[in-house]
């Protein structure tokens, strides 16, 4: 017996919703956010631009300040959550991208810091700096950049 078209439609619709859910759930629902030094003067970036920045392929900002990217170690829970929930990438993909740049002489690696506290301090002190942190830790010395 064939299932009625209504059921097929419902199954297809819920499949589409399920498939799109990770996309909808990403970004703002994460407890992690992109932060930057206030001199950057950007409030929003696209997901593609965020991936370009954390993939180490943007050299300088519109106002000519050099881009300085800060990250935590690959195996830190905060790094894993940020990669997956905000960038929609797996940590190994970022590592591959950085290693390709560093060991082929075509780019540089991000600067690795030991903790979220150090991340916050370094970004507040470095013009052109960008990184990520738990949203609840954001203070007045850095700005949050949202993904549009």
């Amino acid at each position: 017996m064939n299932p009625p078209p209504k059921i097929i439609g419902a199954v297809l619709a819920s499949l589409i919703v399920l498939l799109c859910l990770p996309l909808i759930a990403r970004a703002d629902s994460s407890e992690y956010a992109i932060i930057a030094n206030p001199q950057i003067n950007i409030k929003q970036v696209s997901l593609s631009t965020a991936r370009t920045i954390f993939g180490m392929r943007l050299q300088y900002w519109n106002n000519k300040l050099p881009v300085r990217v800060y990250v935590l170690a690959d195996n830190q829970p905060a790094h894993i959550k940020f990669s997956k929930e905000v960038l929609g990438m797996f940590p190994y993909q970022l590592r591959w991208a950085w290693d390709r740049l560093v060991f082929s002489g075509t780019g540089q690696a991000p600067i690795q810091v030991a903790s979220e506290e150090e991340m916050l301090a370094r970004i507040a002190a470095t013009p052109g700096a960008i990184g990520y942190i738990k949203r609840s830790l954001i203070n007045d010395h850095v700005i949050e950049i949202s993904i549009n």
Binding site: V45, S46, L47, S48, T49, R51, T52, G55, R57, L58, Q59, Y60, N62, K64, P66, V67, R68, A73, D74, N75, I80, L87, G88, M89, F90, P91, Y92, Q93, W96, A97, D99, R100, V102, F103, S104, G105, T106, G107, Q108, A109, I111, T126
Partner: protein
């Protein structure tokens, strides 16, 4: 024609292995903290040290691996990169020490040394130019082929990344124009170059002209390029790359081979899918060789092909397993090598193809320490290093390899 005195070499290689293991241990203990150079990170230093253990049932791969010379494969690299405060201009270079059996003696060499100028960088595009010794962007792995952490296995699929002609493949001296263009979740990267290939290694002469001749190879202007498309931050990656390497042979005073020109044109199609647990990779290569202006007996043209299929599964973020089938033929019009063996009775048919089934695993002990192991079951000997195998080769053979690698 090729001299080799084995016993002193083995002693020497053992001593070198010890020295390298000591260096490796020293680096592990001193740790990456010693290299935090500059708070703004305008100057970066990175490096790696890898030592492999290789044993073979028959034939030799990087040393007399079928007897007791098992530590013939060592890779040490150190690279530096510095940018100006504006990040527009960048200098980068990498020094490599590589031991790989008879064909690579561990001498230090500059793998790349370049100046890179970014003409344009915005959030959706980039355009730049590089000059100097630049890595050849061939396939997915060529540019980082010596760095174990970037490889899916200890040995890259040999049908495409022949280790016997590594220096020719790895980099060339000249110019490269590059660009990137981004749309919503898609990105196109391209590189175009004109350069002189590196032909100063005897193994390349043996690979191209079958023996170590009195004369030498000379590099002519060659052309290369790659386009790479990435979807959704690298979930799907597709690439097309090619090089036209132009090389001349300049004969010695008394030489059986006259002057002539060799053109080597490999074209590689690459595809990869990446999910959280899986990476599926396949590359296909057509390799066209043309020998012209020698003598009618030497002048020829032939096309070989290669491909591999590889599946890697991440059991956790630290532990992966993989399986790969990798196959190559030297001449497409003679896939089993029988015609060649009939015309050249000293060469067995199995020297003209290789089918390699590989199973392996990798474990990341710490983010900077990697352990790998793999087993190869091979039918054919097309990619065996010639200088390691001066005796007759065996058609069916097995190879077991273990690698430890440190990075910073």
């Amino acid at each position: 024609m090729i001299m080799s005195s084995k016993s002193p070499l083995i002693n020497r290689s053992c001593r070198l292995t010890m020295l390298r293991l000591a260096l490796l241990a020293g680096m592990v203990l001193s740790g990456p903290a010693a290299l935090a150079l500059d708070s703004s990170n305008l100057l970066q230093l990175h490096g790696f040290a890898s030592q492999s253990f290789i044993t073979t049932s028959d034939n030799n791969f990087f040393g007399e691996t079928s007897s007791n010379d098992n530590f013939g494969f060592t890779e040490l690299g150190l690279n530096g990169s510095t940018t100006t405060t504006s990040s527009r201009l960048r200098l980068a270079g990498q020094l490599l020490l590589r031991r790989a059996g008879e064909s690579d003696n561990g001498r230090a060499r500059l793998d790349y040394g370049l100046i890179d100028y970014t003409m344009l960088t915005t959030d959706n595009q980039r355009l730049g130019v590089r000059a100097g010794r630049i890595l050849n962007p061939l396939g997915f792995y060529n540019e980082t082929r010596d760095m174990a952490f970037t490889r899916p296995s200890i040995l890259l699929p040999q049908s495409i990344y022949f280790d016997r002609t590594r220096d020719l493949a790895i980099s060339s001296d000249g110019f490269q124009l590059y660009g990137e263009r981004r749309w919503n979740s898609d990105e196109l990267q391209w590189q175009l170059g004109a350069a002189a290939p590196r032909v100063d290694n005897k193994e390349i002469e043996v690979a191209l002209l079958r023996t170590d001749l009195p004369g030498g190879l000379e590099a002519n202007t060659s052309f290369l390029g790659r386009v790479l498309w990435e979807h959704n931050g690298g979930e799907v990656r597709l690439a097309l790359s090619t090089i036209q390497a132009n090389i001349s042979y300049a004969p010695g005073a008394i030489d059986p081979v006259p002057a002539g020109d060799i053109t080597f044109e490999p074209t590689i199609v690459s595809a990869q899918y990446n999910s959280e647990s899986w990476s599926l990779t396949s590359e296909y290569a057509l390799r066209h060789f043309k020998y012209a202006n020698f003598s009618p007996a030497i002048n020829t043209s032939l096309t070989g092909d290669s491909y591999y299929l590889q599946g890697s599964y991440r059991l956790s973020s630290r532990h992966d397993i993989f399986a790969r089938y990798d196959t190559t033929v030297v001449d497409r019009s003679d896939r089993n090598g029988e015609q060649y063996a009939t015309l050249n009775p000293s060469t067995p048919a199995h020297r003209r193809y290789a089918k390699d089934l590989t199973l392996g695993t990798g474990y990341t002990i710490t983010p900077s320490l990697l352990l790998r192991g793999e087993w190869h079951h091979v039918d054919g000997t097309a990619w065996l290093p010639a200088l390691d195998n001066l005796q007759p080769t065996t058609r069916g053979w097995d190879m077991l390899s273990v690698l430890i690698s440190y990075r910073f």
